[in-house]
Amino acid sequence: MSYPPDRIRSAYPGLVWPAVPPDSGALALALQFQLSRTQWLPAAALRTNQFHQLRGLLAHAHASVPFYRERLAAAGYQSGAPVAEDWFATLPVLTREEVHLQGPALHARRVPEGHAPVESGQTSGSTGSPITFLTTQVTRLFWQAFNLRDQFWHGRDLGLKFAAIRPDRGVRGDRGVTLPGWGPAITAAYRGAPAALLHSANTLDRQIEWLVREDPDYLLTLATNLLELARELRRRGVRLSRLREAHTYGEALSAQARAECRDLLGVKVVDMYTAQEAGYIALQCPDHDHYHVQSEGVIVEILDDARRPCAPGESGRVVLTTLHNYAMPLIRYEIGDYAEAGAACPCGRGLPVIGRILGRERNLALTPDGRKFSPSFPAETWMDIAPIRQIQLVQKTRRLIEVRVATPRQLTSAEEKAIGAALRHALGYPYQIAVVCLDRIPRSPGGKYEDFISEVAD
């Protein structure tokens, strides 16, 4: 059911259908009215609108943000002038380190009326140094708008039950909480529906016990957690009877992991690309496994090592410009992720395509001759060799990879050799492989799990 007409909240007695929603719901649906149309705009028209919006943002950044006053002036910025795309592409990128170092110099001295209150947050820092960021009423509104768009794109029935397992500060312990609705993005306009939340720090045992009891229709969790859950559910022969979709976020979801989750759980797997400091970056296409940039909120560039835009099929660094954050504008912000540019989507949406999200630079492997690539070593390459519960590859040098495996016992040397051979084959290069056995491979404090970490400096 892609449109739940009878679930829109009505602010007026006697008006059941069509509903006349309260102001917050009207605002949400007014944005959906626009987003439902802008998604079909041709790429060039989207760019024009983005740069129209960018004009005001740059004027504000120049006037109110000390760091940008300097940076934009140095680039020859004329306050309030229209922003030319080719000039914009010459602005220096803002690195995570700069964001870390500049701190309050990146904060606006004031925000326009209607953008307050400004709130402060910090990224989890699980795969890099934590960053302090600011959000406004407006960025939160757009966060909710893209969240709601995601529900519509994937045809979720907003009256069914939603469960999330995530590192949420609001939920502690192993009991989980029941929520009155799917979250503010939905309840602004729609009537509440059953929802439950559990912290992802809970053991798989506990997560499964909780899931079986909650029996949700939709499950949202970190990509690696979903994979572990799916494997464990299958191993135990437990089926989540009502589950109709698994939804992932927060970590790169490889094609293999996606396919494995889909096969093990027997449901559609939908991923999204978000960042706390930048909001929704891309949503999975309703018809394909690739992603559509949320161009109404963010300009996404994917740049190669020479800082030129990548052509479809090429991978590069993700550089973002948030269009509505007037408290802490992020202009050409190099978030630290790698992604593959995609070709225009056959679905007809003009929103640019990201083919794959490859994760952090440190999640990319380096070939012995110094080229980066996204390593793939799906479970079927190693699962039958030994009783391995978890695996993590750490590249120590261009030639040496340490393989950490969580196993109930020490591996035999024959098993270690077989694993080495299997991984060399999967990775496509004759790396030296050193196997280390552990009881458990811990997640980062932010709850994320990296299956490949490169410790090789560029």
């Binding site: 059911m1 892609s2 449109y3 007409p5 009878d6 829109i8 602010a11 007026y12 007695p13 006697g14 008006l15 059941v16 259908w17 069509p18 509903a19 006349v20 929603p21 102001d23 719901g25 009207a26 605002l27 949400a28 649906l29 007014a30 944005l31 959906q32 009215f33 626009q34 987003l35 439902s36 149309r37 802008t38 998604q39 079909w40 705009l41 028209a45 609108n49 983005q50 129209h52 919006q53 005001g56 943002l57 504000h60 326009p112 009326e113 209607g114 953008h115 407006v138 509104l141 708008a145 045809g155 306009a189 109404e296 269009l323 509505h324 007037y326 007809g348």
Partner: protein, 396 residues
């Protein structure tokens, strides 16, 4: 006990099947691809795109968002939703409107499930009732949240004035359907809209009026009194060269004939929009001959507001099921099948100050087959009625 009754009522209303939603999702995509892009005016400093509007504009767009989706619902899904709304309205009517309290005593049970059959047993409301029982048709307690109640007088089928009550909510819906009409017909809001209407002073305003207040495409609209001599009206049109002309079919026909007789063309005209009385084939033909532009009609009445809008792809009409329940009844009071011709009977779904339930308009219509455009909104192939005063809905 009340909760049980409520559940029983809901349970009795058939639920739309999943198949309908899926079909709707497919056709929605087709529509979305062809939807015109309109620039929405943002009310928040620093945000131009996508726009964050004033609350009243957000409400208008929230309704439009729903209308864009509900139009693709299958006929029975629409019917199910209409009946949910109707159920609430009828209870309000029975509880607060003396006329219905008297006349429905033997045929209406507020504690029983509303079905198409039980609805069909309610008596028709005639224009005579509306004229003579005006006071008894007023709700004793219209919800305060529906806003100020105002009286409106228009001409009935026999030309005698008929009074009705309106609320701010009915006004909201009137504007919503006006905007839907513009969007369906992909009108260019940066262009000039000329309206020749009853009692309209000659004036020019920026924009296209309150229904389109949130649109920032920079167009203008002009009005002129319909009582002016056709020669003066034509001269005015030639002077202003509008892209869109909105008027009565009779006025359009007169102006078209005059244009033909004088060999004059309205070179920038893109579309002729009519409302207020039925358009016959002859009017369509003469206007096409004179100006060679599409003619788009709206079927509305003073007492009920919009009833049906012309399909974006065809000359027939789509009932505005989100606001009115339309029955076309044969001589025996049974609903006509496609191809059947009968009396138009209207129930307004959101007028809580003076609900019109099974109101016999005096108009006749031919029921059409489901439209190939994919919209589930029922089709009226043609509407025939007596000329009456026109209620031009845009610019209001």
């Amino acid at each position: 006990m009340i909760a049980v009754g409520e559940e029983a009522r809901r349970a009795a209303i058939p639920r739309a099947s999943m198949v309908h939603w899926a079909a709707h999702a497919i056709s929605r995509r087709r529509s979305a691809v062809s939807a015109p892009f309109v620039v929405i005016r943002s009310a928040l400093p620093g945000v131009v795109w996508p726009a964050i509007t004033r609350p009243e504009d957000a409400t208008a767009l929230a309704l439009q968002y729903q209308l864009e989706r509900s139009q693709w619902l299958a006929g029975d899904a629409l019917r199910e939703l209409q009946f949910r709304q109707l159920d609430v309205l009828l209870r309000h009517a029975y509880e607060t409107v003396p006329f219905y309290r008297w006349h429905w005593q033997d045929v209406y049970a507020a504690d029983r499930a509303l079905t198409p059959e039980s609805f069909g047993r309610l008596p028709l409301l005639s224009q005579g009732d509306l004229r003579h029982e005006f006071e008894a048709l007023k709700s004793g307690s219209p919800p305060a949240a529906h806003g100020t109640v105002v009286e409106r007088a228009g001409a009935g089928a026999t030309g005698e004035p008929v009074r009705t009550l309106r609320t701010e909510i009915t006004g909201l819906w009137c504007r919503a359907l006006t905007l839907r009409d513009h969007l369906w017909h992909r009108r260019d809001f940066s262009a000039t809209l000329a309206a020749i209407r009853i009692g309209a002073p000659e004036e020019e305003i920026s924009g296209w009026g309150p229904a389109t207040g949130m649109i920032a495409d920079g167009g203008r609209s002009l009005t002129l009194d319909i009582e002016m001599a056709p020669e003066a009206q034509l001269e005015w049109l030639q002077r202003h060269e509008p892209e869109y002309l909105l008027t009565h079919p009779a006025t359009a026909s007169r102006l078209a004939r005059l244009s033909l007789a004088r060999g004059l063309r309205l070179s920038r005209l893109r579309e002729l929009c009519t409302a207020g009385e039925p358009v016959d084939a002859e009017t369509r033909e003469v206007c096409r001959k004179a100006w060679d532009v599409p003619l788009t009609d709206v079927y509305s009445r003073d007492e009920t507001g919009h009833i049906a809008l012309q399909c974006p792809d065809h000359e027939h009409y789509h009932v505005q099921s989100e606001c009115v329940l339309v029955e076309v009844l044969d001589g025996q009071g049974r609903g006509c099948a496609p191809g059947g011709f009968g009396r138009v009977v209207i129930t307004t779904l959101h007028n809580y100050a003076m609900p019109l339930v099974r109101y016999e308009t005096g108009d006749f219509a031919e029921v059409g087959d489901p439209c190939p455009c994919g919209r589930g909104l029922p089709v009226l192939r043609r509407v025939v009625g007596r000329p009456r005063n026109m209620r031009v809905t845009a610019p209001a």
